[in-house]
Assembly symmetry: C2
Homo-oligomer: 268 residues x 2
Amino acid sequence: MESRERKDECQGGVNVPRRNLLVGAGALAAGMLLTKAGGLLSPDLAQAKAITESWPWPYVKLDPDETAELAYNEWYRLYCGGGVVSSIFSQLREKVGEPYTLFPIEAFIFLEGGVSGWGTICGSNSGANIVTNLIIGPRTAGSVDGMLMGSEIMQWYSDTDLPTYSPKNPKFSGQIPTTVSNSPLCHVSVGRWMKAADKSLGSPERRDRCARVTASVAYHTVELLNAWKDGKYQTKGTIPADFYGIQTMHNCTSCHGSDVPMPPTAKR
Amino acid sequence: MESRERKDECQGGVNVPRRNLLVGAGALAAGMLLTKAGGLLSPDLAQAKAITESWPWPYVKLDPDETAELAYNEWYRLYCGGGVVSSIFSQLREKVGEPYTLFPIEAFIFLEGGVSGWGTICGSNSGANIVTNLIIGPRTAGSVDGMLMGSEIMQWYSDTDLPTYSPKNPKFSGQIPTTVSNSPLCHVSVGRWMKAADKSLGSPERRDRCARVTASVAYHTVELLNAWKDGKYQTKGTIPADFYGIQTMHNCTSCHGSDVPMPPTAKR
C-alpha cells in the first residue's frame, strides 16, 4: 500500500495528503484535499484516485446483527445486491465517511434476481464481492484477500442451509424453510427453495426468504471483515478456475448429469 | 431528474450547486462544492450523493472503435469486467471528470472468470451492466433504461457469434474461432468456445478470445449509450423473471434437458 500511494502521488505531480492520516483526524471534517498552504485543489484524477483507488479502504468493525437487520430491511428497497452493499457501506458512511460516501450504492439495485432477473449470480454474492474487493482492494493493489474472501463467501453460500438469519421484526411471520443451494447462482438457489417450500416467486414467503438470505450473507461478510481487521483472517477462498481448467462452480453434475465434459488441458 | 436533485438538496439542508451546471462549465475545473459565498464545505453525505447518486451521470458520446480497442488492451490488465468498465469510464474521466474520477474502476478486476473464476456471469456482462446502471441510473431514480439496456446486452451476448471485434494490433495473430454461447454465463460461453476451438483455458488463443469478447461487448454498450444520448434508445431488454415465474436465463434445456421443471405459480 505504501508504495502504491507514493506512485499515485508521483503520477499526479501534486502533493496529496495521506488519506490514512486524514481518517485518523476525522474524515468527515477533514476529507477535502488541501495543498500544503491550505489552498483549494480542483479534484483532478490523481486526487480522486487517492480517495477511491487507494487500498485498503479504512474499515471499522461492525456489528454483524445490526448489519444483518439493515440488510434484511434494505432488501425491501434495494433487493439482494444493493441490500448487502447498503447494509455495510451505509454504516461506514457514518463511521468513516469517504470513500464510502462517494460510492453510488443505490445503482446496484440491478443485481436483483441474479442481475435484472436473469438468475445468474445471486445478488447477495455479488454485493458481498463488491464489498470485500472495495474494502480490502483488488489483487493489483497487493492483497488477494478481497477476492478470496468473496470467493469464500460464495462457497459458504453454496454449502449452508440458508437463511441462517432471523430478523427481529419479520415482515412475514410464518415459518421460512431453509435449503442448501449447492451453487452461487440465483436461479438454482431460489429454484431449490421454491421447490422445497412449494411457494411462488411472488409469494411473501419467497420474498422474505430472499431478504433473510441477504441478511445472512451480510452477517457473514462482516464476520470475515472483522476478523481481517483484527489481523486474524485466514482465507478459505479458492479460485475454481485454477484447478478445474475452466471457470466453474463445483456442482458439475447439477447441469451435466453423469456426462461431465473435460476441458482441453494441453496449452495448444 | 429535476425533482430528485431538488429533493437531495432539501435533505442535505445546504445549497448544493447544480451538478449539470458545473459540468457545463467544465467539471474538472469547477467540480468542488462551494457555498454561495465561496467557502469550502466539508464533503458530507448530502454533497457526496449530489455528485455520485444523482442520475443520469453526465455522458458524452464515445467512439465504439476506440472504446473496443481500449477494452481489448485493458483485458490484459483488468480482464473482462474491469476491461469493459475501464474502457468507457477512463474516457469519461477525461471528457467529463466527476463522477467518473471517483469510481474505483480497478477494484472490479474480481469480475474476471465469472467472478473470481467461478464461471457465473461473464465479466463483460457484469461490466456492461455496471456501466449502463451507473450512467443512466437505477430504476429508483426514475428510468428503467439502465437495467433494461444491461439486460439487452446480456441477450445480445447470448445470441451473437462472438467475438465480433478484431483488434487493430492483436496480441495473438492467428485465427480465433467464433461461437454462440446461448447464455450470459462465463462457464457456458468459455466452455463452448474451448470445445469448438479445442484450446485450453491457459492458451493464448482462449485469452485473446476473451479479450476480443470484452472489446465486442464494450463496442456494443457504447453503441446503445450513444443512441440513448441522442434520445433514440428504444430498449429490447426484458426482465426474464417477469414471465418465467423464476429468475432465469432462456436456455432451460441446456441444463435441464427435456425435463424442465415448472415453478410454483400460485401465490400461496
